[in-house]
Each structure stands twice: as C-alpha cells, then as structure tokens.
C-alpha cells in the first residue's frame, strides 16, 4: 500500500470537483482530484444538449463543451481517473483508495466532497407488475443514445417531468422513437417551463399531470404499462386506469445525493439530503468541504461550478493552516422553505444562498425573521432553484428563520 501526502484532495470529478480543483490549484497547494469513472465530467459527459454555462461562461454550451472549458482552466495536471475512494477516516484524515496501481492511502489536509448524485431507480418505487427488460432511468437511456449510439426501443413512455425526463423525451423523439407521452404525479411539471415548451410542446408530446404508472406488463421485455390519475394524496383513482402499449419506459423520478462516504460522521440535512454546510462550503468537520449535487440537487451547472470554486478555495486556505471564522449562526427553515443552503454562516462576508419553495406561488416575498429580503413578482416553483446574494446580516441574531409567503 502506497501512501501519499496531499494538501487538498477532491473526491469526484464532475463540475463541482473540477471547479474546486481550478480554485485550489490557483492557491498553489498540492491538489489531487480522484474520479472513480474512466474520465472526469460527471453528468456533463452525457448531456449533449445545450443550456450549460450561461452564467459562468456567458455562452450556451453543451455539457461536454462546458467540461472542456473547465479542463482548459485547469492549468495543472491533478486529475486521476479510475480511482475509487473506499473509505474516509475522519480521525486520521486518511483516505483509502483503489486504483489500477493498487491501494493508495492519501494523507490529506483538506478534502472536498464532490461526489454528485445518482438516479433513483424505478424499482425502488414499488410499482407492481412484471420485472422485465425495457425499463431504464433517464440517465441510462441518455448514455445509451448519446454515448453508445443505440436506441433503448421503439415506443416509449416517460415517467417524471423533471428537466431530465423532458430532455430525454425530446432526444428520443428526435432520434426516431415514438414518444407516447410524459406522466407526472404532481399537478405541475417538475422541470423548467422553458424545457416543457422546448421539449414537449414543440414536439407535440403530451404531458399527463397528476398521473402515475400503476402497473408494468410484459413477458421478458416490457409490452405495456398501466397509468392512472391520482388524487390530492397521490393515490391512484380507481376507474381512471389506462393501458398503454410501449416497449420502453424511461424514468426520471429523482436524483439522490451520494454521501455514503461521509454520512457516518458528518452532520447531514434530512431535506437537502446532503451535508450541512456554511458559506465556505464547509461541513460540520472543519477540514471537509462539499459542493455540487451531493450537497443538494441543483438545476444549473453554473451553481455547482460556483460552489465548487468556493469549496476548493477555502479548502486550500485551510490546508495552508489559515483559520476560517466559526460558523455559529444558522438559517432555520420557516414556512414554505424546502431545500436551503447554506444552513450555517459566520456573518463576515456576503454570500449566496440557494433555496427551493415547497409550493408554487404567483407572487411572493422572502423573509428573514420578518424582514423582507426579496420580492418575487414572477412565479416561483419548487423545480426552479432560487439564488440570491445576501449582503447584510448585522441586524439578525444567531438564528435566522427563512420563509416564503404568498402576496397578492
């Protein structure tokens, strides 16, 4: 077993990890980025549609283009693909890894977790029926088409109207599949309105809101699914079932942050499903930082990139023994607030917060402890993450309640 000392170790080479590497190397510290896959980029690799990088590079890029921009920014060669992190030891700051050259134990001064998310498989939803071939997550279907140049079938129903589901509906239609529709269990589409228009309406693909799949049929390969309308409690309404003949089901039913390596010892947020962090992207363990989809699911790669940069920068400072202020203030979730980050802060600097409302509102206000911070004169919804920079905290106590309220 080989040992290696590094200042900043980054786990995960998606947008967050690459951005962290860019900023950490700028600080002149010894940085290593480990990626378990054969190359870096994460989900960007498979996203050949455009819509990436409007904020960061002021251009509409495809996923791979965005990734290449980051590679260009990264002056030093710090990337090590095909490295799997087996264990992070919080007491000794050792990271045990496996690679083609054997086991390597990194002794680190600071660590950035940028491990992204994984897709929730349909099999976890307990939908009754046959266990057949032909049911794929959107990510698998996307890789199949964009990377392997193969189609998953002829006739497809999409489950879930998040951005990924919408984008896959369009992609599969363009590539010649019969896309019969998209079912969404919620009364509203899950993805950006822009995507509903560009991916479904422009291609005349129907969207069935308040609908779900209630049964899967087939012998070896899928041959049909039964869908049904659901009531307010998302329970299927008897009598509304409809059997649709398809040979493929593509599911986009949620992403789950991946934190298996740290959740045993880092404080976690049950709503974001990622570690609790502060404005420096620092977790409850002083030398462990986190950024990207493992902190919470983000809509835009630009947000992920910004977080990665922050995490990499402060991780580098910590590795040079610089001190960061304690983050002893906290944000508390008030009414209508779901995903929220950071959850802690130190009040020294202005910083960005991200949040998702729990419901959709036509007009609303965002308040910190009864003080109005922002007025939204446009519709806000859970599917679209709100980002805003907070400058002044001097008038607040140690606990700031964040809430969203409807206004007329």
């Amino acid at each position: 077993m080989r040992r290696e000392k590094v200042d900043v170790l980054i786990v995960g080479g998606g947008a967050a990890g690459l951005a962290a590497a860019i900023s950490a190397t700028k600080e002149g510290v010894k940085t290593v980025l480990l990626e378990r896959d054969r190359s870096t980029g994460g989900v960007l690799n498979q996203c050949i549609h455009n819509g990436f990088g409007l904020h960061v590079y002021k251009e509409e890029l495809t996923g791979p283009e965005f990734m290449e921009r980051m590679w260009d920014e990264l002056k030093e060669d710090v990337i090590r693909p095909n490295y799997t992190v087996l264990e992070i030891k919080p007491k000794t700051r050792e990271v045990v890894t496996l690679s083609e050259e054997g086991l390597v134990i990194f002794e680190v001064k600071a660590l950035v977790m940028a491990t992204g998310a994984r897709e929730r498989p349909l099999s976890s939803l307990q939908i009754p029926g046959s266990r057949v071939a032909g049911v794929y997550t959107a990510g698998v279907a996307q890789k199949m088409v964009n990377i392997y140049n193969r189609l998953p079938g002829r006739k497809v129903l999409i489950v879930g109207s998040g951005d990924i589901g919408l984008i896959m509906a369009r992609r599969l239609k363009i590539e010649g599949m019969d896309v019969v529709g998209v079912v969404e269990i919620m009364p509203e589409p899950g993805g950006l309105i822009r995507n509903v228009v560009q991916c479904l309406e422009d291609f005349e693909i129907p969207l069935w809101l308040s609908h779900t799949v209630v049964e899967i049929h087939g012998d070896q390969r899928l041959n049909a699914v039964t869908i049904a309308k659901v009531d307010k409690n998302k329970k299927p309404i008897p009598g509304t079932e409809r059997k649709i003949k398809v040979d493929t089901l593509v599911t986009s039913v949620g992403l789950i942050p991946q934190n298996e390596l740290i959740e045993g010892f880092v404080e976690m947020d049950p709503i974001n499903k990622g570690p609790i962090i502060d404005e420096f992207m620092r977790t409850s363990i002083k030398w462990i930082f986190a950024a990207g989809n493992n902190v919470a699911i983000h809509d835009l790669v630009d947000f992920v990139y910004e977080e990665g940069k922050i995490a990499g920068y402060y991780a580098a400072l910590i590795s040079k023994n610089e001190k960061l202020p304690d983050s002893d203030k906290r944000f508390l979730r008030g009414q209508n607030v779901g995903v929220l980050l950071p959850q802690r802060f130190s009040q020294k600097k202005s910083f960005k917060i991200y949040l998702r409302p729990l419901k959709s509102f036509k007009k609303s206000i965002l308040k910190f402890d009864d003080k109005v911070i922002r007025k939204f004169n446009w519709r806000i919804r859970p599917s679209e993450m709100i980002d805003l920079v907070v400058k002044d905290f001097n008038n607040f106590g140690p606990n700031v309640t964040v809430e969203v309220n409807e206004i007329d």
């Binding site: 087996l86 083609e100 266990r131 392997y148 193969r150 998953p152 390969r221």
Partner: protein, 478 residues
Amino acid sequence: MKVFIVGAGISGSLIARELSKYDIEVHIVEKAPDIGWGVTKANSAIVHGGYDDPPGSVRAMFAAYGNKLYDELSKELDFSFKRVGSLVVAFKEEDMEYLKELKKQGRENKVEDLEILEKTELKKKEPNLSDKVIAALWCPTAGITEPWDVAMAAIENAVENGAMLHLGESVKDIVVKDGKVSKIITDKAEYKVDVIINAAGLFADEIAKMVKVANFEIFPRKGEYILLDKKLKGLVNSVVFPTPTKKSKGILVVPTVDGGILLGPNAVDLPKEKKYDLSTTRDGLDEVYVKSKKLVPKIDISYTIKTFAGLRPETKEKDFIIGPTKVWGFVNVAGIRSPGLTAAPAIAKYVVEKIFPEDLKINLQRKKHFNPYRKKIPNIKEVGLEEWEKLVKKDPRFGRTVCFCNNVSEGEIVEAIRRGARTLDGVKFRTRASFGRCQGGFCSLKIMEIISRELNIPIEEIKLNYEKSWIMDGKVRV
C-alpha cells in the same frame, strides 16, 4: 452409466455435485440460460433450523440434516453462509403455547439448542423488535445464504469434476422402453440415458407426465418481497418470524448476507397455468409492508431498492416427493417447496447414497481424483485490502471499479463471463454488480460493453436474462 438431471436449481445442482464424486457420466439439462434461475432465484434465502416441519414428514427428515451439512458445504464450495439464528416471536399468551410446541417439535426433529427467550433478553439481541413482542423461540443454528450462489458453486464444482452442463436446453420428452427410461429428448438433441433425476422445480409434474408416473400436480404459490438498502444494516441481526399460520411461515424480516434487509414473503395460491407469473401486486406489497412493520416498527419503506416475487412449487400433499418410480431409472425430486434450500444438501446425499444403491441397485464407484473445492470470484469487501492489492498487482483490472454501489471490479466481471455469464443478470448474480442501491444506473451499460468485448458479440445482442429480454434496439446512426 449415464445420468441426466433435469433442472439446475438448488436441488439438481447439489445432486450433480454429489454424483460427480463417482465414476459415472453426469449431465445437467437446464432450460433457462443460466443456473439457479427457477424457484432458487427468488426466496427468503434462509437455511432453516428445521424445527417447524411436522415430525415424520419427508421435509422434517431432510431439513434438520440439510442445515447441518451447510458448514462443510460452504467451506468446500466457498459461498457465503452465516448462522445468524432465527426468532419466532410471540405477541400474545396463546402464541406462547405455540412456541413451546415448536420447541418440542424441534427436539423430535433433532434440532438442539432451541430456547425460549423472555422480553428483556430478546431486546438485547434485537433492540428494534416491536415492544409488543413478549417472547420468542431462539434457534441459533438457522442461517442465511445466497441460494443461486450455492447452485452455481455446486455446478461449477460438478463441471470441474467432469459433469456436463447443458444450459438453455429444454427437456421435451422421455422415451421409456421395457419399463426403463431409455432416451431423453430436448429441443436441441436426443440422448441415451440410464437414469433421470427429475429436479425440475415448478415443472416437475410435467416431466413426470412424460414417463406417465405423474401422481402429483404442482401449483404455484406466490411470495412477494421488498428489499431494503444496506444503510439499514443491523435493523435486525437474525431472522425474525411471526408466529406462523397453517399456510406459510408468515412474513419475515431477514438480514441478507451482503447487509440488506429483506421483507416478505406473503403467500397467494395461483392457478396452475401461472407458473411464469413473477409479477408483484399492489395488495401483496402492501401486505408485506404492513406485516413486517408489525414485527419491526422502525422499517422505513423509503429505503426500498427493489421488489420481486417468487413461486413456491406446492403439491396437495404439502411435502417433498423424493424417490424412485415404477419406471426404472426415473427418480423424482419434486414438490421441493420450502424448506427446499435448507434440505437440498441432504436430499442430494440421500439420492446418491440411498436411492442409487438401494432402490436402483447401482453400485457407484468413488472417483480417485475428486476435487471438492471451488473458489468464488473474489470481492474486495470479502477478501480484505492487503489480499486485494496482490490481486491488482497481478491483474490491474481488479483495480478498476465498474459497479460503484457494491464495489465490483472489471476483473470480477471478466471472471464471471469466463465462468459462463452471458447476460446482465448472469453477471449480476455472480458478482453482485448492479445489485446495489442504484440498480445498474451507473454500471449496466459498462457491463454490457465488457460482455460484448469478451465474447466478441455486438452490444445490442446482449440480453437482460432470457431470450426475449432485449435491452437495445439497434444503432441510432450508422
């Protein structure tokens, strides 16, 4: 001497391995594309204590003994087996009577070490059990394993010792001449035979009909399961049964050997023609959830990884049908319902050591060079880091992870293919790749790429499991 075994489930596989210790020609014919894909694929994976089968039944005769054979078998064949113990819990005073009866029955079946635990002791063992449980029958010898793995290990070892495996070949007819089996006809070929062992699981009645000795019928009884994530490891440490009903042992909460938690099965009788129906149902899954939660209230269904169903091969007699028939050379190993997994090693010994010499009057000669050992495909979680490093130094493919959830390397996948995996499920059941929480989201396409490369076949020809379970339709662009 030519022996044909119909069916490569746990029964047929272990019989094949037992027969391969002797100087005879052994063939195994299996209609599925791989080993252990019948009843053996989907069950509770418990090596039962053997106390709950009625004394005097064939089941009782084999279960307790089969259980004892598992230690040696798991060492020789190198499969996972853990004696985690089992608990039958009582909620009411009446249940207590039942526990006492079970204990007595256990003693008659020669199951030792049974003990009734009081609440405080029980809570120490299983802190997450419902507070309403008042006592339980503790059986320390009950264990857990991976049934398909036992079957694969047994076949690999049998083949190593000269047995011949015919996969994807279905027995269609049997020719009887002068009251003896003479030929076995499959969809691919005809073979001369001396002895046929009918270990065809759900279809054993149909095989028996081919020689006109079918005095039994097999009907399927469905059991549905919910598998929960390894994050819940430790939720229960042993197998937890409710007080059983007449129909089944009830819905249990079981730790799996690789750290997950399995809930189920329910029991629903299906008509005869539903022997292929492995679909889950809303009612079934709900029942599994509600009843398992009664045993262990902390069960959180949001940790579900997948749901599936298995079919028990039931007969009216509710008992195993093991023995020779009036057609010489045709031996039934039929109606192997629960606890067939437990009983299988004992059944195999019985068939070879008793039926062959005593009923068929065949004196088998021991092979001089029988090798009892088979090595499993190594995995980093089981081998330990230092050992693993040596492996990587020899073959760097063991350092390249393909399945991130279960830490399965490319080296393991290549080895699974070398051992006969041809499909995604073939790789999955040999290595646990794509068995984990993401269910193949990250790795299934990579596994296909490796199969395609190793076997030199186009990627779109690879199947999930059976012939018609295609995965890709063809090229997007040429």
